[in-house]
Amino acid sequence: MLGGHAYRPIKPSDAYASRKEREDGQLRLLFWLCYIFDKDIALRLNQPPLMSDDYCDLTLPEGYEATKIFVQPHTKTSSPLDESPDKLPLLFPGELRLSTLKDKIARLLYSAQAARKTEAELFHDIRQLDEELDSWRQSLSPEFRPSLSISDPFQTKYPVLTGPTNSMRRIVMHLEYHHLMTTIHRASGRCSVPRPEAAAVEGNVYGGGVQSSIDLTLEASRSTIIFLRTATRGLAGEAFW
């Protein structure tokens, strides 16, 4: 209705912008905020999203991917704690590429159409989404990249001198990653009954693809619990309304 679904450039806060450019940029920012929450709620509550990707221009804001969604120190001598807002990139309360992936997950695995898929089609989509999620994970800098799994609380430790924004963001990205891993591979749960007779032959009770997804779901769930026990001590109080 307001037109935020169409691409509009978002000018950096320290650059000059006319009133029209400011209004266009703000509208596009509001679009992305609505998009993030719509896709997150749709996935978590198993409700259809209200914003259809087919009718939205999902071109990312200029320079968004280059920032790698974390605050990068400008020089070796500058303190990462010096987080003047003018120097910060657009961070948003979620990650835009993960939001588009959440829409895909909901549509390909948990929609009414997805319920009609054969087992082979389902596993094809699970594999495709798993690869997309890992591609996103690999796009992050190594120091911020979520671990494939967390079995040791010491894996949650993080260099202190990175500032509160990065700390919060790292925690959220880890939890988001493991949540999506669980959600993607949990879809395999509807597929096969256990086959005790296969245990002697294949070494596991289910088919290879199902067993692998079950393993990944459980491992991601365990990683989430271990991570929550330790890393969330660094959560800022403002994160909770």
């Binding site: 806060s13 198993n46 898929k117 087992e119 890992d134 924004t165 289910y206 079950i214």
Partner: protein, 228 residues
């Protein structure tokens, strides 16, 4: 390397034979047609469903039995419920407006709003939660503080609603910039909510901002996304 290529240390399991009679069989291999999409399945067994209200799993009787058989404990989510029933902010809204109905549209001193805006502009929130542009919001504040004259203008009501909503969340980032007593976020939220019925008729960026600041923690996203 994809996680699918990484081996897991998870040990496979075999459910006891008596549960195989109790638990409903999954659809035949390759046929998932009869399965509703909000259901939870594990290893082909039906465990329950995802609540459409809060996203929490609701276990079926079969799911409870399966978990009890594995853990030796009775499954109960009662301990995860709030210790005391919290008064919802909607009832707070109604109560506070009944106590002072004539002051429902009164704004605080403009200086308070300016300080809150300055706090927002200087905090990292402006990049994490870019809900408004500080320059454009000055116009919204100007409109909100114009005297209310009959007939009331919808854009002015919307502007006031937006300012109240902004003040309701100002505590998150403006604490160091506001002198005087702490902001009563609940009262500001209640005042903003009281105006929502009129604001919903206004399709503008300002109304969208007001609604988003009020409702974004809640799964009531219908109004937001339909306007966008």
């Amino acid at each position: 390397m994809s996680a699918l290529a990484e081996p897991s240390r998870y040990q496979s399991f075999t459910p006891p034979s008596y549960l195989q009679d109790v638990l409903p069989a999954s659809p035949a291999r390759g046929d998932t047609t009869g399965v509703a999409f909000s259901q939870i399945h594990y290893g082909g067994y039906h465990f329950g469903k995802i609540s459409h209200h809060n996203g929490m799993p609701i276990l079926s009787e079969e799911g409870r039995q399966w978990i009890s058989s594995r853990t030796g404990e009775e499954v109960s989510f009662d301990k995860f419920r709030p210790v005391a029933e919290q008064e919802s902010w909607l009832s707070i809204s109604d109560r506070r407006l009944r106590e002072a109905p004539d002051q429902s549209c009164d704004l605080p001193p403009r200086e308070i709003v300016q300080q809150a805006l300055e706090g927002f502009r200087r905090s990292c929130c402006i990049k994490v939660f870019p809900i408004l542009d500080p320059v454009l919001f000055e116009d919204t504040i100007d409109l909100a503080y114009e005297p209310l004259l009959e007939p009331l203008r919808l854009d002015q009501i919307t502007a006031r609603c937006c300012v109240f909503a902004f003040l309701a969340i100002a505590f998150m980032y403006s604490g160091n910039f506001i002198d005087g007593p702490m902001l009563d976020s609940d009262t500001f939220a209640a005042k903003s909510h009281h105006m929502l019925a009129d604001v919903l008729d206004d399709s503008s960026v300002v109304s969208l901002q007001a609604i988003f600041m009020l409702v974004c923690p809640c799964p009531s996203r219908f109004v937001l996304c339909s306007k966008m």
